[in-house]
């Protein structure tokens, strides 16, 4: 069980409220896994490649990715990791406020594990989604970065 707890969440989101929301939801679900936060795709890539000055590279990670972000948005981030040999097997859930068909389509083309719309999970919905995620990583073997 312990090694399961070593799975980290990397929340890639520039919205502070969303970050707080995630923190509250994890607390509510009693999920104690570390939550790493990146403001955009560029910072997320730094963390994942161990290039970030403050945040060390997590051994096993589930990425929760917002799409609308400055500098490098979610789609660009997905393109970047799918083109990167060492990151191509990352498990990524899209967590966004966009319901746009184009966004959904484009995201699944990059083999995301799930597409969760933020509105659907507000008012406790996010907690449910996190419960789902909790079950997910307990069941699914995740690739571990070396």
């Amino acid at each position: 069980m312990n090694d399961r707890h070593e799975v980290s969440f990397l929340l890639v989101d520039d919205d502070e409220i969303d970050v707080i929301s995630m923190q509250r939801a994890m607390k509510k679900q009693r999920i104690v896994n570390p939550l790493l936060v990146a403001r955009d795709g560029v910072e997320a890539l730094e963390i994942l490649r161990g290039q970030h000055p403050d945040t060390p590279r997590p051994a096993s990670v589930i990425v929760l990715l917002d799409l609308n972000m400055p500098r490098m948005n979610g789609h660009e981030f997905l393109n970047a990791i799918r083109g990167d040999e060492s990151l191509s097997r990352l498990v990524v859930f899209v967590l966004t406020s966009s319901r746009h068909e184009r966004d959904i389509h484009q995201a699944y083309e990059q083999h995301v594990a799930g597409y969760i719309v933020k509105d659907d999970i507000s008012n406790g919905g996010l907690a449910k989604a996190l419960g789902l995620l909790d079950s997910y990583w307990r069941v699914v073997e995740l690739p571990v970065t070396e």
């Binding site: 919205d15 502070e16 409220i17 969303d18 707080i20 929301s21 509250r24 609308n68 406020s97 966009s98 746009h100 933020k118 509105d119 507000s122 008012n123």
Partner: protein
């Protein structure tokens, strides 16, 4: 001004070469006409000469005939010493009968002074009281018995007047001259013209035929002719009128014999007449026959020879010029029209460019607007969600704490209002995103409608549903499904009944026309256009209804090329919305094949 222009234009159409050719042609035709006219005139003149010659010849013949007759009488006298009055009468009466112009015939023997007795004996045979006399300046006087004498011993006249009986012809100069000439020449001689005493106004001529026995002159047969009947007889059947003829004795001083005007003055030539002269010597005198004949006129058809072709040539020239002018005018008009067309075309091109620019501008504006609506509503959503979350957390965190109820209430209202605003933004986002960027494919409309119905029933509430069978067509499936779903949603959401009743009718297949009727509250007639406008709701529903569904529907239907309107519900009190959806029908078998393939 118009006429001046026309004249100018007409002059423009004239060609020098053409005019010269026309003039040459006309000149040629005139020459031909002149030649023909000349030939005709020559022929006519020749005919007239012949007629004149004929008349003169006839006069000569007539005179010859009379001279011959007189010569015959003379021959009888020459053959015998003594001709009795009875024999004379026998000879002369037929002569007078045969020649009506002959006024009288007389016999005058040629005598020496000692032979007068013989004459006396003969004269007494006709008139017992016969006496011979001579003319002197003081009047008649008895014959003096000296020298030579030629007394008239026998005189036959038409009227029986024998006043001249016994006259010595040699005593009268004119007669004397005649017989002296006849004696000298031995042939019949005419006298100069003289007035006939018994026929006033008529000219007469005497003729003397000498009688010779061997070379010895015996006497003369003297006759008097009246010219008028002679001319009349001569002209009969000649085609020449007596009024056209003049006869002149040209021997001594010219004297007119016919007509009896006296003197030698010729009458002036009548207008349009030609005068023909013939001179001939008859019986020792020179006679001039003058005949005036009407000048030959060119036949009217001679004019046709040059006039008709000339008119034809002029007509051709005129037609050519007119045609040329017409052609030039038409050309000018065509050129003007082309120029106008070019101008109009240029204007059109300019206008089209403007339109293209406007269209591009509008498209750009549209894209900007859509982009703006999308970005605005999307960017507004993020802080709104933050507010909503924060208010939710506030309620969570305040739970179990001792705070005034109004704080909780206000926080709840805050949450609710935020939710409302989120819904509005969501609707706006949906409206701005509603577009047609979708490919057409073959779809079963019935299936699409069923899919929409299930979705609405799941998302909102259950309702009673009846629908006509719908065809398989080629169209944009997502767009059509959206339209139907929004319409059904609209009908269900606004329906006051616990279980709404909806009915979808296929009104027409081409163009595809559908009608969705419900049993809800009818839409007032004055609000029927307003329901399709954005954010319009007909009653303050507040919470659930954003008022965007029908706006999206109308946008999609009109983008697709259809029309949508609210109509009266023919069956119930509810509302009916009818819309057309242009699409291509697909044959049933083909559709089945496709379904098979898909399966």
């Amino acid at each position: 001004m118009h006429t001046a222009w026309m004249v100018y234009r007409f002059r423009e159409g004239i060609r020098l070469g053409e005019c010269i050719l026309a003039a040459l042609l006309i000149a040629g035709f005139v020459m031909i006409a002149i030649t023909v006219a000349k030939a005709q005139r020559d022929s006519a003149l020749s005919g007239m000469q012949d007629r004149v010659g004929g008349v003169v010849e006839r006069i000569e013949n007539d005179v010859d005939a009379r001279a011959y007759a007189l010569s015959q009488i003379a021959n009888v006298f020459a053959a015998s010493d003594f001709v009795t009055y009875q024999a004379w009468q026998t000879l002369t009466i037929p002569l007078l009968e045969q020649f009506p112009e002959l006024t009288g015939v007389a016999y005058a023997p040629w005598l020496e002074a000692d032979e007068l007795d013989r004459a006396m004996a003969q004269g007494q045979l006709q008139e017992p009281s016969f006496s011979m006399f001579e003319l002197s300046p003081r009047g008649p006087r008895p014959l003096t018995a000296s020298g030579q004498h030629a007394p008239l011993v026998y005189v036959s006249t038409r009227d029986g007047n024998v006043n001249a009986l016994g006259l010595d012809v040699l005593s009268e100069p004119r007669r004397s001259k005649m017989i002296q000439q006849a004696r000298a020449e031995g042939t019949l001689i005419f006298s100069a013209p003289l007035d006939l005493v018994r026929q006033p106004g008529n000219i007469g001529i005497l003729a003397a035929a000498p009688i010779f026995r061997s070379t010895q002159l015996q006497g003369f047969v003297i006759s008097a002719f009246s010219v008028q009947p002679l001319v009349t007889a001569t002209l009969t059947g000649s085609g020449i009128q007596g009024s056209q003829l003049q006869l002149i004795d040209s021997t001594a001083q010219a004297q007119s014999v016919y007509p009896p005007t006296g003197g030698g003055v010729l009458s002036p030539i009548p207008k349009d007449h030609l005068r023909f002269h013939r001179s001939t010597t008859i019986a020792g005198r020179v006679w001039t026959t003058v005949i005036d004949l009407p000048a030959p006129h060119a036949a009217p058809w001679i004019h046709a020879i040059w006039l008709l072709p000339t008119l034809a040539v002029l007509l051709v020239v005129w037609l050519n010029v007119t045609r040329r002018v017409q052609l030039e005018r038409t050309q000018a008009q065509v050129e003007a029209a082309i120029s106008d067309l070019v101008t109009v075309n240029r204007q059109l091109e300019h206008r089209e460019r403007e339109l293209q620019d406007s269209l591009a501008h509008i498209n750009r504006k549209n894209r900007e607007l859509e982009s703006f609506a999308y970005v605005a509503s999307h960017d507004l959503k993020a802080p709104l969600r933050g507010i909503r979350n924060l208010s939710a957390w506030l309620i969570e965190d305040l739970a179990g704490m001792d705070v005034p109820e109004t704080v909780i209430d206000h926080t709840r209202r805050l949450t609710k209002l935020t939710q409302k605003m989120t819904d509005l933004l969501e609707g706006l986002l949906g409206f701005s995103r509603a577009s047609l960027d979708e490919m057409t494919e073959r779809v079963d409309l019935g299936e699409l409608v069923e899919k929409a119905r299930v979705r609405v029933a799941t998302e909102h509430r259950q309702f009673t549903w009846t629908a006509d069978p719908l065809p398989v067509v080629s169209t944009r499936p997502g767009t059509f499904e959206r339209v139907i779903r929004e319409l059904i949603t609209n009908a269900v959401v606004h329906n006051p009944h616990a279980t709404p009743t909806l009915c979808l009718t296929l009104v027409a297949e081409a163009p595809l026309t559908l009608r969705l009727c419900d049993d809800g509250e009818p839409i007032p007639a004055d609000a029927r256009d307003r329901v399709f406008e954005i954010f319009q709701t007909l009653k303050p529903t507040g919470d659930d209804v954003a008022g965007l569904g029908l706006a999206v529907v109308r946008k999609l239907v009109s983008y697709h090329g259809g029309r949508i309107q609210v109509i009266d519900n023919p069956n119930t009190d509810g509302t009916c919305i009818e819309f057309t959806w242009p699409c291509t029908p697909v044959s049933e078998s083909l559709a089945t094949d496709i379904n098979k393939d898909t399966a």
